[in-house]
């Protein structure tokens, strides 16, 4: 059972990633691949801070502005230099690989016995305590995001991804909104990288590779589930994305438990995203 509990814990740590990708991909309609770099940036940043040493809570909070900066740079490249959104993300992601490696000074930093916001394995109750902490973090982040999307500023963000002409006619500079949105999105992604690093006990330069697809899988699953509810509010889609992010990790754990090797996980993830993408296009089958 501990195996699934650990998977559940990891799923909770991946919730900010899914919410960040929901924000860029669904709210802003921007395919932002900065994610792969900013996830590792969150992990690398935390590893560097914690070895200083800095208090684990501060170290965790400090990765937020790091991720935001990465997202803002992508936003500026996209809106001010008029580079295609996908390409802007790829550029920043590529640059971040060097930045992350320079910060870490080696490709892998073990974090066993160093500070963490989570309890270490030697505490007998570590799973339940960590679960409680992770749930608290997820509830706070989710509540903040739902609140933000309902504020006047949040309405502007949601409108920006949907009808740029309209918000310009309402006196809003769409570029500014996009930059802020990508900053928030990548701050969440960096937080996710930082949480995952603390749970698995190491930071690795390659841990962000393909992470955007894992996040997208949760977003797609969440969207498919929330469509069942036919509600016009944004509350349900966000909650379903949270739920899907957790479910997705449990699903992967289940697959691994069946004796399928870890190497297949990314292949499986990509296939799953393709499935969700095509099912939404082929929904005439249901009729």
């Amino acid at each position: 059972m501990d195996f699934y509990a650990v998977a559940l814990l990891l799923g909770l740590a991946f919730v900010p990633l899914a919410l960040g990708i929901y924000l860029s991909a669904k709210v802003f309609n921007i395919p932002d691949i900065t994610t792969d770099g900013s996830f590792t940036l969150g992990a690398a940043g935390f590893a560097v801070f914690i070895l200083k040493p800095i208090n684990p809570i501060f170290a965790t909070l400090l990765v937020l502005p790091l991720g935001a900066l990465a997202g803002a740079i992508t936003g500026i490249i996209h809106t001010k230099l008029k580079v295609n959104a996908l390409l802007s993300g790829i550029l920043v992601m590529t640059a971040l690989y060097s930045v992350n490696l320079l910060m870490m000074e080696r490709s892998n930093i073990p974090l066993i016995g160093t500070g963490s916001i989570f309890e270490q394995v030697n505490n007998s109750n570590y799973l339940s305590i960590n679960m409680l902490k992770a749930i608290t973090i997820v509830v706070i982040i989710t509540a903040l995001l739902i609140w933000l999307l309902h504020t006047d500023f949040g309405l502007t963000m949601r409108a920006a991804g949907n009808n740029e002409n309209m918000i310009e006619a309402q006196g809003v500079n769409p570029n500014k909104i996009k930059i802020i949105g990508l900053a928030i999105s990548n701050a969440l992604v960096a937080l996710s990288g930082c949480l995952v690093t603390q749970l698995q006990g190491f930071a690795d330069i390659n841990m962000g590779i393909g992470i955007v697809i894992a996040g997208l899988a949760s977003v797609m699953m969440g969207e498919a589930m929330s469509n069942r509810f036919k509600r016009s509010s944004i509350l349900m889609p966000v909650l379903m994305v949270v739920f899907a992010a957790i479910l997705f990790r449990l699903f992967i754990a289940f697959i691994l438990a069946q004796g399928i090797e870890q190497v297949y996980v990314k292949l499986f993830t990509a296939a799953l995203v393709l499935l969700f993408l095509s099912v939404s296009k082929l929904n005439f089958i249901k009729k």
Binding site: H150, L155, T156, R158, A169, V172, S232
Partner: protein, 249 residues
């Protein structure tokens, strides 16, 4: 309210030819004036609206709105003064947001969009009252997504959105072109009422001669970037659709 002084705007086509869209235009629109603009395609009708909205900038000349020169101010910076209704009913509102949320964005046009939960009971009842004036029964659909409504309904709500905050100028570019005759009629009646009530300086481009005759208190006919015919008040009242067809031919 809106004044064009010696405005010219041209563009260079693929062949390198310079084409004048607007040719040394001098015209003034007074407060509360509801002007219909007709003319053949390419006569410069929509360019006049785009120049006022700031989507295109003039090559030379001065545009002033409420005594302020605006010819170099970006569109989102002058939007406080200007409300717009587009030909495509889908363009004026956000499909994925509810009617109320769209209204909230429109209401905030002149103010900052801060971290406030703005849709409260007071706001809801204010919006319901405004929508009820349309007489379309839409006041009960305010929590629906905009995308679930018909083109005519969306265009009517866009009209409410355009007038929610104190814009001085209303620009309408063929607002009824995509609507069925009944919705078009209802939209024009509602627009005429709102324009009169709020004393909006309104410019409307149309290809519908009946609308051009029946609504508004001024009519401009554009030809090759110039004002060919300009009639107001009493004289405008006497016009019939046949007059306009004669002029256009």
């Amino acid at each position: 309210m809106v004044k064009f002084t010696n405005i010219s705007k041209s563009f260079t086509d693929d062949a390198g030819q310079i084409n004048a869209l607007i040719n040394n235009l001098n015209v003034e629109f007074k407060q509360g004036e509801f002007t219909m603009i007709i003319g053949a395609n390419g006569s410069g009708k929509s360019t006049i609206l785009n120049l006022i909205a700031g989507l295109v900038f003039p090559d030379k000349g001065i545009i002033s709105i409420a005594q302020k020169e605006v010819q170099t101010i970006k569109s989102f910076e002058r939007s406080a003064l200007i409300a717009r209704i587009f030909q495509n009913p889908l363009q004026g509102s956000v499909a994925d947001l509810t009617v109320l949320e769209n209204m909230r964005l429109a209401f905030l046009r002149n103010s900052t969009k801060g971290l406030k939960l703005g849709i409260d009971a007071a706001f809801k009842s204010k919006i319901k009252d405004a929508i009820a004036q349309l007489n379309l029964g839409l006041e009960n659909k305010t929590s629906q997504k905009m995308g679930t409504l018909s083109g005519g309904q969306r265009q009517a709500l866009t009209l409410v959105m355009a007038t929610l905050c104190d814009a001085k100028v209303l620009l309408m570019d063929e607002p009824t072109a995509a609507l069925d005759p009944k919705s078009a009629h209802s939209l024009m009646e509602n627009a005429a009422n709102i324009i009169k009530e709020k004393q909006l300086t309104t410019l409307m481009v149309t290809h519908n001669m009946r609308e051009a005759v029946n609504y508004g208190n001024r009519l401009l006919m554009m030809k090759e970037g110039r004002v060919e015919i300009d009639v107001k008040g009493e004289e405008k009242m006497k016009l019939s659709a046949n007059h306009l067809f004669d002029w256009l031919n």
